[in-house]
Symmetry: C2
Subunit: 283 residues, 2 copies
């Protein structure tokens, strides 16, 4: 239980964290900070946070500071927050990329106050109104470079995530970003690109809506995601994202070739290979 | 209410139709036919069907014959069934492609007995054990070339689908196949290709499983689908599928270029365009 938690960025993730902290009685007071005044006011009126303060004031009052803002901003804000904290305060982030951030604060005198974390949860919605109860339950939370965090800071943060129903997976920041490109970032790109494909080709909106039961909804769901959040992720994780995107285009060309050549054997083999995902992600 | 319904192909769709017919009390007796003996035996032991008969026997006894088999087989089986029926019997299919089938039986003397239909429902699972209750409720059912079906045959089939909770959408077979390529077939290809991408790049299965909360599950779900069903669909709808697949590869290359050039404006614009899907498919 913390006396005061300050959440920087009160959108989908920060807001859902606020709900979870209240429900599990893990914070007596929750302060909201950030650049997005509208988001903060909405979080306040929704009761997600108790008070809006400046970054300096919010950090000064907090035992635990949670940074849940787009990843390009997180690089600067994390360093700024670490400049402000005393030895006991804990700072953690929720960003979808880890390598640039970890490198940026690697030599900070307060590096041990920081927990580089990525709770593996999200939806296609954004903003405080999209925050939900039970968001993190049953999911993994990646913590990178745990050896660089102070023992007490790490234990308290792990305990917090555990109490939200998450289990901790440790990884170095480099590996995290590779895995995140494979299992999250590429899914968002394919979904955005699929929406653009259908919007380009299918001029009859009514037909999309009527026929969407054929599988389209689930594959296109992520295309509703917030560009302000995702553009910085793709750019920060450029190398890994391009690597997996090139492979994906290559795999699509395999399908294209098999269909062009009416090669039923090759086409079936591609799908049988894809079916192996069942063994990894059972229903 | 039909006295006897014969379902040819007792897999996901045929089996779910059987469950719906029983629950809505729309058939006194349900007969199963088909080439897949294992599927038929399973459907019988699950209570989906009352009896297994040969195609000839099954058709002879039925008021209503429902064809729910892979689309390449449906072309031949539908013609064969129409050879066997009298003027009163109704034949309908559930295939995901319509143009080849409609063309193949266009000049059949029993064309008016046939309803070319496509209930817009499915899951990634297959076989009788995957059949579920309430499968078709709230979904659209496309009926192609209704003017080529006899009035009574059409009315009874529409009434059946309506009683299962579906609403009818009329389309010509050519347009159906174009729309199906956009809103269903391409989603399956991207999902299969995404699974292959991740299986190729991500050698650590544990990482896929642990981190899948990041959006991967929903986009890869359809990659579990049955190749025996989907290969014939892609090949029968080759032209439309290739058209939309080429556009999709083009859209992915747009993302690739924007990321390579670190062009935040272009990248955001691509995603903002994709966000328009929200207006067509609200949550």
């Amino acid at each position: 239980m913390f006396n005061t938690v300050t959440i920087i960025g009160t959108g989908l993730i920060g807001g859902s964290m606020a709900i979870a902290l209240r429900e599990k009685k893990l914070a007596k007071k929750i302060i909201g900070c950030g650049n997005d005044e509208e988001s903060l006011q909405q979080a306040l009126s929704l009761g997600l946070i108790d008070e809006i303060l400046t970054l300096e004031e919010g950090v000064a009052q907090a035992d635990f500071i949670y940074i849940a803002i787009p990843v390009h901003a997180a690089v600067h804000v994390t360093a700024k927050v670490l400049d402000l904290v005393n030895d006991a305060q804990i700072v953690a982030d929720a960003g979808s990329t880890k390598e640039k951030l970890c490198r940026a604060i690697a030599d900070h005198s307060k590096r041990k106050n920081f927990v580089a974390s990525h709770p593996m949860w999200g939806t296609e919605h954004s903003g405080p109104a999209a925050a939900v109860s039970g968001a993190f339950t049953g999911r993994a939370c990646v913590i990178c470079e745990p050896e660089r965090t102070g023992e007490n800071h790490l234990l308290q943060t792990e305990s917090l995530y555990n109490q939200l129903g998450m289990h901790i997976v440790n990884m170095n920041a480099h590996d995290h970003d590779i895995h995140a490109a494979y299992v999250s970032h590429i899914s968002h790109i394919t979904s955005f690109a699929l929406a653009n494909t259908v919007l380009e080709k299918e001029r009859e909106r009514e037909a999309i809506f009527e026929l969407a039961g054929g599988g389209f909804e689930s594959t296109v769901r992520l295309a509703k995601s917030n560009p302000d959040m995702w553009a910085p992720i793709f750019l920060q994780n450029k190398e890994n994202v391009l690597d997996v995107l090139n492979e994906h285009i290559h795999q699509l060309i395999n399908f294209k070739t098999a269909i062009e050549e009416e090669n039923n054997t090759a086409l079936s083999a591609l799908m049988q290979n894809a079916n192996r995902i069942k063994r990894i992600l059972p229903s």
